[in-house]
């Protein structure tokens, strides 16, 4: 027990974090209930595969929102950014822009342009926030409208359609039985976890998010932190945009607007602290799975959208409640075994200030 922070093992990586404890309990509970209630309808290969196809486009948005949360901000422009980069990629793929390229080149150029553009849009967000010291809520509300507006101007509100088959094949391709886009999503998640939790830059990000003033005085360049974070979010938005157009074979303003709100819920449930500085990537992974399982269950149960919203709300309250009380309970249970040291030393994670 006393070596929690000294040697991180896969087990105490999760059990050492009250948020993840609660989350994992809810996840296991939901999984069991689903197994009992739906059986094959939920755990058939077909349904699992269908869930794996649906997760990535939303998952990238959730990862982006997580980054924004980690620096105590929010990014409302993620899906607008994803749509605009998707639209630009769409114009290149259909050959409306840069005609004359052969199919392979078109795909390569479209992918690079989409990711480049989305990263630039993220950089633009970061620069506005850092240069003018505006809150990210206001800044990204503005750029959300701006990016959607540019998309509207380019498309007139219509869909860009007719991509090459070799491009859309990526959206349905599988390695064995696992969708390629899902594998890509997992790889990005693992890379992000390593960058955030195992490198100096990641540590500085948590520190900056948790207490920007302290970060400033410890020599962290807050300007650069903000810009880097929002640029990275832009890149993730680009990944989401590409996944979307690959899957739906069309690009349009407004696709995935509902993801912004959903990603906020996911971040809070995943234990990413809205005020910044706390939360793990794996939390987003578990929560996204949870959301997807619940969505499948809701369809099987033929629930109305109002009931669906109600259940999301309940789940939010449940996880928040478990997190608070769970932590208190955990402390109470541990207290007899830990005599000489203060509890806060044990429970806090790197960069996490315990105020529970």
């Amino acid at each position: 027990m006393s070596k929690i922070n000294a040697t991180p093992t896969p087990i105490n990586y999760i059990t050492g974090d009250a948020n993840l404890n609660a989350l994992l309990s809810v996840f296991v509970l939901t999984a069991l209930i689903c197994a009992l209630a739906f059986g094959d309808a939920m755990y058939s290969g077909a349904n699992l595969q269908s869930m794996a196809f649906q997760i990535p486009e939303f998952g990238f948005v959730a990862l982006g929102m997580m980054l924004a949360f980690l620096v105590g901000g929010i990014d409302l422009s993620i899906t607008a950014n994803a749509c605009l980069s998707g639209i630009v990629a769409g114009f290149i793929l259909t050959g409306s822009w840069l005609p004359g390229l052969d199919e392979g080149m078109r795909i390569a150029v479209a992918v690079v342009t989409a990711l480049g553009l989305s990263t630039l849009m993220g950089l633009f967000n970061g620069l506005i926030i850092a240069c003018f010291a505006v809150s990210s809520l206001i800044a990204t509300l503005g750029t959300m409208t701006l990016y959607s507006g540019i998309g509207m101007a380019l498309t007139g509100g219509r869909s860009v359609v007719g991509f090459p088959d070799s491009f859309t094949a990526g959206g349905i391709a599988c390695l064995g039985e696992v969708p390629v886009i899902f594998i890509a999503f997992v790889i990005v998640m693992v890379l992000m976890a390593i960058l955030l939790e195992r490198t100096g830059g990641g540590r500085r990000l948590y520190l900056f998010g948790g207490n920007p003033v302290a970060a400033l005085f410890s020599g962290i360049n807050n300007f650069r932190m903000n810009v880097a974070t929002f640029t990275a979010i832009g890149f993730l938005a680009g990944l989401s945009g590409l996944t979307i157009i690959m899957r739906v074979n069309s690009a349009k303003v407004g696709y995935g607007d509902a993801y912004v709100f959903q990603s906020l819920i996911v971040c809070v449930i995943a234990g990413i602290h809205p005020a910044g500085g706390r939360g793990k990537v794996i939390g987003i992974g578990i929560t996204t799975l949870l959301m997807q399982m619940a969505a499948s269950a809701f369809t099987i149960l033929q629930l109305s959208p109002y009931t669906t919203k109600l259940i999301w709300g309940l789940m939010l309250v449940l996880v928040l409640g478990l997190t608070r009380d769970g932590r208190r309970l955990l402390n109470a249970l541990r207290a007899p075994f830990i005599k000489n040291k203060t509890l806060t030393d044990k429970d806090s994670n790197p960069g996490e200030a315990d105020n529970g």
Partner: protein, 332 residues
């Protein structure tokens, strides 16, 4: 002898009843096992009325037919629902697409899995689905605007037409059909503009455009609106005390009832969502049973009793005309 007779009668009776229960059971099981799901655009009075129609179908046929409503009008939500339905192996999916093009890959996936897909209000992608069901041909519906406006204006005077946006293909088709009919049937009427005005699908825009037109063309005598914002035109006319100007508009009972009742909208046009939902799901049921839907097929709903099928689109003729007298009968 007597005993044998009784026995044989009994045996025959038993055999008959076994056969009877057997056959009814088989028949009922076949229908009960059919699952048809309608995915609507969003939750609003229009689609609530459509749900009523589908509940009626469930009662009439005894099949498992139900409605799925996305949380918002975002096309990604419809795709997610559809993906989940595919992995549940339902028999047919009906959908009123928010963005028809975006649904095509998922529709293909469903059809590859042996699921029948029937759309409503999506003639553009009829080639990608098993069937598209439409309430009417756009031209036929558009003509009604011209017909009623001519009737209201006594066949003479200046008029103007609105669409939601110039890019909206159905609105444009209605507009063109209306103008064409007026040119032929009411030659004394004069369209003040060669292009339709856009109300951008907003009440504000419809209202301000109307006041501008009233200023520029004080002699104007009539408006028609292919989007559902004619109530804003009527309101502008009331505010400017120009109740002599007639209005014909696409209308919803929920937003246009008061204007129809006081006569500031002469006639409202629509179609009944309940009937459209009923016909669409009934068509899907027929396809699942392996029956064809072709010209002359009866889809059982009012206005769809004798559909015309062309290029994978089944057209009914189900326009609904609202007047001051019947507007209170509808709740969508």
């Amino acid at each position: 002898m007597k005993a044998t007779l009784v026995k044989s009668v009994l045996a025959a009776g038993v055999a008959l009843s076994v056969a009877a229960t057997g056959s009814t059971a088989a028949y009922a099981a076949a229908d009960e096992d059919i699952t048809v799901v309608m995915i609507v655009k969003q939750s609003d009075p229009w689609f609530d009325d459509m749900t009523l129609g589908i509940e009626q179908l469930k009662q009439d046929l005894g099949i498992n037919v139900y409605v799925q409503t996305p949380v918002s009008g975002d096309p990604s939500q419809q795709i997610a629902i559809m993906e989940n339905l595919i992995s549940q192996k339902v028999d047919a999916i009906c959908v009123v697409p928010n963005d028809p093009q975006a649904l095509i890959p998922t529709i293909k996936k469903a059809r590859d899995a042996g699921i029948k897909v029937v759309t409503h209000e999506a003639p553009d992608i009829a080639a990608s689905v098993d069937l598209d069901v439409e309430a009417f041909r756009s031209e036929d519906f558009g003509k009604l605007y011209g017909e009623f406006l001519g009737e209201a204006m006594g066949g003479e005077g200046q008029y103007a037409g609105f669409v939601g946006g110039l890019t909206m293909t159905t609105h444009m088709a209605w507009y063109n059909a209306a103008v064409k009919l007026i040119e032929e049937k009411y030659p004394k009427m004069e369209n003040i503009s060669s292009e339709p005005y856009e109300d951008k699908n907003s009440l504000d825009q419809a209202y301000s455009r109307t006041t501008e037109i009233l200023k520029a063309y004080p002699k104007i005598k009539g408006f028609f609106d292919c989007s559902v914002h004619g109530s804003a035109i009527a309101q502008a006319l009331k505010d400017k005390k120009r109740t002599d100007v007639k209005v014909v508009s696409l209308a919803l009972p929920s937003t246009s009832a008061n204007y129809l009742k006081d006569g500031s909208i002469y006639k409202g046009l629509a179609w009944r969502p309940a009937d459209a939902g009923y016909a669409t799901c009934y068509a899907a049921y027929k396809l699942v049973k392996g029956e064809a839907v072709e010209s002359g097929t009866d889809l059982k709903a009012e206005g769809y009793k004798d559909v015309k099928v062309e290029d994978g689109i089944a057209y009914g003729f189900a326009p609904l005309v609202f007047t001051a007298d019947n507007i209170t009968d509808y709740k969508f």
